[in-house]
Assembly symmetry: C2
Homo-oligomer: 160 residues x 2
């Protein structure tokens, strides 16, 4: 019996390079978390990349998405800015992630602070507020959409 | 005992008007659905408003988010385009929604088609493809973020 049509291709080097570029250049991302009602919740976030090129967030404990991640580490990050013209014509990627809180007392905080400010200089206004913390998003798999008809599936090895 | 600090205010008329404006003017939104692994999944969508000002999507049955919504109607829609400068300084809203498929054979399809093309003229290229369908997002409650320190909670009555 023929397999059902699957429009999604396995990742190739071009897909991996597009992914790295999206992660390096994004000004923001959209995070999806599970809220207190069990519903998926989409919110705008800023992120940077650590030395292993893993994304991490700077978030306030007062924010809804932070409370969601403290209760359930499952999330996804959508990266890729819709430019001019048809928003669906631009490349973007949804990365399924597992969130982990970085201990504020750890040495790692100093490194993440430097990396975050380098990418988001305006965050200097609030980065040291006591309610803010870093959350690392370990990437598990991803769906890359390079525009109509250009869909790729990336596995964890493709995301290293 | 004092109540814990809640930075989120109840909606006022300004919050309701900002919400209507975001829904009228957005070029795109981000949809959060639950994927086949139970993870929240964020993806880019275009939408329009029906005559009751309820958002509806035009999606392909081949898309991941459509499959998710066919299996679980729970979703949210993030609306509000990050403009220039700090992306977190711009107003945006997360609306918790319940998704319902519009029967392609219903008369309503003709009305939704007209409304969708009026807002997204380029969708004329694919709107009549047989794998495309409309999904209505009934709005249940919402979190409006008008920039730092300006957070509002909207109930279903505020979203009518």
């Amino acid at each position: 019996m023929a397999k059902p049509f699957d429009p999604v291709q396995s990742a190739n080097e071009e897909a991996r390079e597009t992914t790295r570029q999206l992660l390096r250049e994004a000004r923001f991302g959209t995070l999806a978390t599970i809220n207190e009602n069990g519903y998926p919740f989409a919110s705008l976030v800023t992120f940077a990349l650590d030395r292993a090129q893993t994304p991490f967030l700077l978030v306030s404990r007062l924010s809804g998405h932070t409370k969601h991640l403290l209760a359930d580490q499952r999330c996804s990050l959508l990266v890729g800015e819709p430019g001019k013209g048809d928003p669906l014509a631009h490349a973007r990627i949804t990365i399924q992630c597992s969130a982990s809180i970085i201990d504020r007392a750890s040495d790692e905080n100093i490194i993440l602070r430097t990396l975050f400010i380098a990418r988001h200089p305006k965050a200097a206004l609030y980065i040291d507020f006591p309610d803010f913390l870093y959350i690392r998003l370990t990437m598990m798999e991803a769906s890359l959409n390079g525009g109509f008809g250009k869909a790729f599936r990336l596995k964890s090895d493709d995301l290293r």
